[in-house]
């Protein structure tokens, strides 16, 4: 039933004849013109998300000093980076914190400065203090370097995020008696609020839940520049279940590993963040183009907030104790309305994922596609779909021979 190929769509993009719409726009189009007609007309649907994504970081090569040094302990603006690679290569993770950070000793800790903030400074072109110590070898005799670097000074700076773009996420609530400071924000006691963190109908992986088009090599919008999907993300266990209303779905568990040259990214779309009582992280902007190869791909890409569901999870006990129970499913339309019902009570909602910025990303990606500066890539390998039946492995605490 294939009605279009990647090559045909790319040819139309190059000729300026392609029809590109955002995941919001396509929802209305399908409601007005039907699935078959819209599938014939639309070539690409653009998506977007802009939210804290902790499993993010950059690998850098900062060049050789004279005399040379083999980095053993490395910090950037006092935030420790990994010293277990070759001499002047390092990896800085978004959640890394300075050795002298008070952490949660005065709970809730503020985590004002971490890896995500350093990445933000780097991509903004600001000077960053690099401190390297080595133990000295015959080939790398120097034992200490302190200098200032900017993004331009680095040989390579590559954003490489092992788990981004979560397909769907918990709606976090607090059934307990005290305020909780979580990675889902500040949760007030006794169902005081409900926080969610997905862009719903704009969320990339909710729009291709069977992973029919997103795979290794998919070119994407990443941090304001061009990036690529390089693998499935860690903990990638996609599943799609029927939702509570007809035609609706509860899809969850898909993730992406993404990569791109930091030098062409923008501080507007990679922002350091401090989550009170939790830690530092990086807010990452991602947009994925979905080629409308057939009607089924469009059917998924056109699902609206009312047809996409998320699970409500208690963060006072169930989440921290890794208990599987959920308090129900709720649609993104309900979440976006500002109030949901949980255990019979009206609970105010708030997002941690910026919907307005996600919309901007979907529009930017649409503009890039229409201008011809961005064409589609056919994945060299698709990612595991829900059919693969992947499930997460839990960590058991045991001895070496158990």
């Amino acid at each position: 039933m294939s009605i279009k190929t990647y090559a045909e769509i790319n040819a139309r993009l190059r000729e300026g004849k392609a029809v590109v719409v955002t995941a919001e726009e396509v929802t209305t189009m399908v409601q007005e013109h039907g699935l078959a007609e819209t599938a014939r007309r639309v070539d690409v649907v653009t998506t977007g998300t802009f939210a804290p994504m902790c499993s993010s970081g950059v690998y850098l090569n900062f060049g050789h000093s004279a005399p040379r040094i083999k980095g053993h302990q490395i910090t950037l603006n006092d935030v420790p980076a990994y010293g277990g690679l070759a001499a002047v290569d390092t990896y800085l993770g978004a959640t890394a914190l300075p050795a002298n950070d008070p952490l949660n000793s005065n709970h809730p800790g503020e985590f004002r400065h971490g890896g995500g903030h350093v990445i933000h400074d780097l991509v903004a072109g600001k000077p960053v203090k690099l401190r390297v110590t080595g133990y000295g070898t015959d080939c790398y005799p120097r034992q200490e370097v302190e200098t200032y670097i900017t993004l331009d000074d680095l040989n390579e700076a590559v954003l490489f995020n092992p788990r981004n773009c979560y397909q769907n996420y918990n709606v976090a609530v607090n059934l307990g008696e005290r305020t909780l400071y979580t990675y889902m924000g500040v949760l007030k006691p006794r169902l005081g609020n409900a926080h969610y963190s997905t862009s719903g109908q704009l969320s990339p992986l909710l729009k291709d839940p069977y992973f029919r088009t997103i795979g290794v090599g998919t070119r994407i919008f990443l941090g304001g520049g061009i990036g690529y999907v390089v693998w499935n993300g860690t903990q990638h266990c996609p599943s799609v279940r029927e939702g509570p209303t007809e035609g609706s779905v509860f899809a969850a568990g898909g993730t992406l590993t993404v990569l791109g040259d930091l030098k062409q990214m923008s501080p507007d779309w990679l922002v350091g963040a401090s989550i009170l009582g939790y830690g530092a992280t990086l807010v990452v902007g991602i947009g994925v183009p979905i080629p409308i190869l057939d009607e089924e791909i469009l059917r998924c890409a056109a699902r609206s907030d009312a047809e996409l569901y998320a699970p409500i999870v208690d963060y006072s006990v169930a989440y921290p104790q890794r208990r599987p129970e959920i308090l129900g499913l709720v649609s993104y339309a309900e979440l976006k309305s500002g109030t949901i019902k949980v255990n019979g009570r009206d609970v105010p909602t708030a997002p941690l994922s910026s919907y307005s910025k996600a919309r901007e990303i979907a529009h930017l990606l649409k503009d890039w596609l229409l201008s011809g500066k961005f064409t589609l890539t056919e994945p060299v390998q698709l990612l595991p779909s829900p059919d693969a039946g992947l499930t997460g492995k839990a960590l058991e605490i045991k001895g070496p021979k158990e």
Binding site: V186, N193, A194, L276, G338, S354, K357
Partner: protein, 133 residues
Amino acid sequence: MTPKKVVLRFPADVADKPIIYYLVKDFDLMVNILKANINPHKQGTMIVELSGDKFDAGLAFLQERGVNVQPLSEEIVRNEEQCISCGACTAICPSQALFIDRPSMIVQFDGEKCIVCQLCTRACPVRAMEVKF
């Protein structure tokens, strides 16, 4: 008159004086205390809503006694360039001064409604909410 919100800053030597009592008794002002942080012999702050015909005379009295008076709207400001419009502050804000405009889903800040509780300054992941003294 409509009530006006003001921030009162008490120097340490005034903090133990019954200033609010005089506002009510001598100036016939209606006082609604929204937030107070007063400790003996220490600098204190109070956010109050005041209304009454002798509003200006009441403020003059406060200043005479060494109490610094500022309109509340100057107190918390949003760094517009830093705000990413995520929404993490909106369910935390007790006075709905921070809210999501629908359907644009852009986070708005209404300084008039702000009671300067400062919860947003720490709940904001990108520290876009700032206290201005």
